[in-house]
Symmetry: C2
Subunit: 289 residues, 2 copies
């Protein structure tokens, strides 16, 4: 059975992403993203799943850095709806709760719910949502609730007192499936291919940032994501993250990439892979409708 590394506690959203992308794989938890990449390189695991961007909180630059630093390939992706739920020990009711524990972002997103349902209750920020559920399940004090996933409720045998308590419902995290080499068989997708690249432009003249992008337009390639990031230590230089429509083996993509190579300080193709589905619980769609 394929072993698939993810960061966090059992019951984390990353584990859910493993289940969608590699349903036959066995998720293996690691304490940090660095540990996930190291385990993949050491061949302790066969694959890995890491978050790369969130619709509310932006790109996870540290994972882009780890992607650049390790010889791994992106082989798939999925966009997973993040839903928060109020979890308690069995038998605990609203009036018994004295403290709600979760990741600070989750507490912030459930602010309106907490204000109207648990106005005088202490809020305690912890490292991750699944970790909060684990603690609620194991500590002596039964009056503590957690905000976490439905999966965490299941894993730690907690009761779901309220479902989907977040105010903003446009919360999706995009997860990447990683492997040491190109995929031998395709992971599930929404149809069509996508290619992720990272490149750097040294000491730019005015307009060079734009000229690099024009290479793709001239080759009829649609851009799905553009992100620039200043390079520290080299004033005026940038790193770019681009997602392109198509595969690196397509003639027009291959031609554009070779032109880019002549212009950029470095170009790295992180992988060509099936475009990801948008998954919200049991509902699966090709776009975030």
């Amino acid at each position: 059975m394929q072993r698939v590394a993810f960061q966090g506690e059992v019951g984390a959203f990353s584990e859910e992403a493993v289940g969608v992308l590699m349903p036959a794989g066995r998720p293996v938890p690691f304490p940090s993203f660095e540990a996930v990449f190291e385990a993949l390189m050491r061949e302790d695991v066969d694959a890995a799943v890491v978050p790369i961007e969130n619709t509310l909180f932006g790109s996870v630059h540290v994972n882009y850095d780890l992607l650049r630093e390790h010889e791994v390939r992106i082989v798939g992706e999925v966009n997973l709806r993040i839903r928060h739920n109020l979890l308690v020990r069995h038998g605990v009711r609203y009036e018994n709760i004295t403290c709600v524990m979760s990741h600070p972002q989750a507490l912030g997103q459930c602010k309106t719910f907490l204000r109207s349902h648990l106005p005088d209750v202490e809020q305690r920020a912890v490292y991750d949502t699944a970790g909060a559920a684990k603690r609620v399940a194991t500590i002596e004090d039964r009056s503590v609730a957690a905000i976490a996933s439905i999966k965490a409720a299941d894993v730690y045998d907690l009761h779901v007192l309220a479902e989907s308590i977040e105010s903003n419902h446009q919360n999706y995290t995009r997860f990447l499936a990683l492997s040491r080499s190109a995929a031998t068989r395709s992971l599930p997708g929404a149809g069509g291919s996508k290619t992720s690249i990272v490149y750097a432009l040294g000491k730019t003249e005015p307009g060079s940032l734009f000229r690099a992008l024009s290479i793709f337009a001239e080759n009829g390639i649609d851009l799905l994501k553009i992100e620039s990031r200043p390079l520290i230590g080299i004033p005026g230089s940038y790193m770019f993250y681009l997602d392109l429509d198509g595969s690196a083996t397509d003639a027009n993509v291959a031609s554009a990439l070779s032109k880019l190579q002549g212009m950029a300080d470095f170009v790295r193709v992180l992988g060509s892979y099936p475009r990801g589905m948008w998954v919200d619980g049991s509902s699966i769609t090709a776009s975030p409708a």
Copy 2:
């Protein structure tokens, strides 16, 4: 005296940014970014300072959302080097430490130091670095250390056992100064102006993402930041964050913005302001050298 809102505990990096951008202002702490924006709109404070992007952790999308939702203007910016330090109660030495407390990102960034200097010590993740320092200063157990800023050591009267213990030294956070209206007098900067805009392209055809950017190249405007973000609920549509060289009152910028208005679903100028300095402790430069 101007009251300037920031998110976090006293001693947070945001408070340091207030000190650089508005040295004569009085920093006022708030528990969340939402509370910071609300205080500014209610005129409880005169200005606010919020983080918008970090070189390692990416853009803070929630603050871009709050910028769009509130009638505020960006009036300045600064890039602040984030340095982590090991803080303890006076008299505590390495061999006394049983636990290190900090924000998970700070613990991760100081991993190499912790591995070699405090290998068997418990690591406890908490909400923010200044909050960790505050707790170390007030709890009964003297064996707990915090990872936080030098400023936090000063505020909570802690001893700095080791300075700059992070492995990656390319850690800068960009902070924006916000006001309800355009600045009456200029905030400190590195020379030159910058304009931040946000715009949305509805249901894009292939290449439209690129065509919107070409407007700026045609008007001879250099782009300093490009970031796309998919719009949830409207498949195929994007929101863009752009930073441009120049002021919205410059003829070429004004002309480009009016052309963009004819093409985008909406365009919002978040502000024109002096380009920010790069600040590392007492060293101040025009670029991240």
